[in-house]
């Protein structure tokens, strides 16, 4: 049994976020963007805090990260632990658990107020939104009906439940190919179905091509997820021949990218048509003193290292904003 015994218990509640303090910078989100923003702003000497649903963000669902400089191969979870322990050395308040309901400007139209789902309010002169994204859905009939009954969005969580079975991975990017490589170790067969050509890194494609229980169907669109109590097949369309056929499968792992999570902010800052927060080259939104970093923004290329860099940029921009305030 190979198990990762990493304990998520780093001095919770030692340093509490205070609703009576006007913080210099409050950061919403605890993924790579939020944590790096915290690192940079704290080092500038600002009074800051983090509000996040969970420290680590979506990276903890990634089994292996091989493209973060300095780590040739590390689990997503351990990479985030490194980030987290680095940030926690700086002794700053992290409020973990609650969701943000809304971000609003106070009556002075300068102070930013973050309202949580329990209606508590935290105040800051400047805010960095780093709330990341959530898995995108296929949007086909049967997907919602069988979500949790064969349709899955976390390969490392649910993979073990498909030991010895036939599964499908939907998608053609790095996440999809990584999930397929992982699943191939435990499933009987893995069929990767993607509507166009693979976008994954060549190094991953080379690796998956060596596996003999993986089949890749390109230019193929999933039309429908079928089953009774749980999934038993999918209907697909081969776009090059215009032929429809059925693939028998017990599991459909959806890995087709991510949608930004910024619902609580959409009335405060401008979004583009992909629902990403629009930021300028300094990471600032259309509202002075509100910055946004990482996957929730219109930054091209959603990558861990790009999110982390975005966080740094926002922290430095917030620093300048505070200096002239």
């Amino acid at each position: 049994m190979s198990l990762d015994f990493s304990i998520n218990f780093a001095g919770k509640e030692k340093n509490k976020l205070d609703s009576n303090t006007l913080y210099d910078i409050l950061i919403i989100g605890g993924g790579p963007a939020g944590l790096n923003a915290a690192l940079y702003s704290k080092r500038k000497g600002h009074n800051i805090g983090i509000i996040t649903k969970n420290v680590g963000g979506q990276v903890i669902d990634t089994s292996v990260v091989e493209n973060y400089l300095g780590y040739s191969s590390i689990s997503g979870e351990n990479l985030m632990k490194q980030f987290e322990s680095h940030v926690k050395e700086l002794d700053l308040p992290i409020l973990e658990g609650p969701s943000v309901k809304r971000l609003r400007l106070a009556d002075d139209s300068q102070t930013k107020e973050i309202v949580l789902d329990d209606d508590s309010v935290y105040k800051a002169k400047s805010v960095i939104i780093a709330t990341g994204s959530k898995p995108k859905k296929l949007g086909v009939p049967g997907e919602d009906q069988f979500a949790g009954n064969g349709v899955a969005y976390c390969a490392i969580c649910d993979g073990p439940l498909f030991t010895g079975l036939d599964v499908v991975v939907a998608g053609g990017g790095n996440s999809a190919i990584e999930a397929a490589i992982d699943l191939a170790k435990i499933a009987n067969t893995v069929t990767v179905v993607h509507r166009s050509q693979l976008r994954a890194d060549k190094i991953l494609v080379d690796r998956i091509n060596q596996l003999d229980n993986v089949e890749i169907k390109l230019n193929t669109q999933i039309l429908k997820v079928l089953g009774d109590k749980s999934v038993n097949s999918i209907n697909v369309l081969d776009k090059s021949t215009n032929e429809e056929y059925t693939i028998e499968t017990r599991g459909v792992f959806v890995e087709i990218g991510y949608l930004p999570t910024n619902e609580p902010f959409k009335n405060t800052v401008k979004l583009n048509d992909k629902e990403e927060i629009i930021v300028d080259k300094y990471g600032e939104t259309n509202v002075k003193g509100i910055f946004a970093a990482g996957d929730t923004t219109d930054t091209p290329y959603k990558q861990i290292i790009i999110s982390a860099a975005d966080g740094a940029k926002c922290a430095l921009s917030a620093n300048e904003y505070l200096n002239i305030l």
Partner: protein, 213 residues
């Protein structure tokens, strides 16, 4: 084989210092085939060895039948968590809480020892109103980062109200049970063997489902 390296043991030592009271783990195994019983026992022995606030009691499902009935144990291995007065508080782990589940084990032990964080007033009142037996099963895999959160919440509810019992179920070891409840995504929460939802949802969602049941 050792489950925990020195680093993790050191972490556990530090965390268990926060325990307010002693807690007992009652492990039920049985004679005969039980693939994961020996490893669960060695794992718990290692965990317990990191603090004198924890003790481990070993029982056999068949020979300690009365106790098994009292604690509602029907599968092995099962771990029953007993408070400082050795009272059953409706809290169990069915299968080994290893891998990611070490987090739910640790946090549940802290809660049972009386050093957990309290519920909000509003939730406390909702939980207190539950006046019929409620059983919560939380199906997990050991590689699931979101699962311990759901297990901790279920255990917290059990601790709050004697009408509620809550158990983690390790889905791979108990494949038949997982099949019965059609588990293919985790964490999957099943209430009174009938009402279910998937994911580490807020406590409010647990309560909504419990009130429906």
């Amino acid at each position: 084989m050792s489950f925990l390296n020195d680093e993790v043991k050191g972490q556990l030592k530090g965390i268990f210092e926060k325990m307010n009271n002693e807690v007992t783990l009652a492990l039920f195994t049985k004679e005969g085939p039980c693939e994961t019983c020996p490893e669960t026992q060695s794992y718990l022995e290692e965990v317990v060895s990191t603090t004198d606030k924890l003790s481990l009691k070993l029982y056999d499902l068949n020979t300690d039948k009365e106790l098994a009935e009292k604690y509602e144990v029907s599968h092995v291995p099962s771990i029953v968590v007993l408070d400082k007065d050795k009272e059953y508080r409706g809290i169990k782990f069915v299968g080994i809480p290893a891998g990611h589940e070490i987090n739910s084990l640790v946090n549940t032990l802290l809660s049972v020892s009386g050093s957990g964080s309290p519920l909000s007033k509003e939730l406390e009142e909702r939980v207190a109103k539950v006046d019929k037996p409620v059983n919560i099963k939380v199906f997990v895999t050991l590689s699931c980062p979101h699962c311990p959160g759901a297990v901790e919440k279920a255990h917290l509810l059990a601790l709050e109200n004697p009408n509620i019992s809550a158990e983690m179920v390790e889905a791979q070891t108990f494949a038949a049970l997982s099949d019965q409840f059609n588990v293919s995504s985790v964490p999957k929460i099943v209430i009174n063997d009938e009402f279910e939802f998937v994911g580490n949802q807020p406590l409010e969602v647990f309560m909504d489902t419990i009130e429906k049941a």
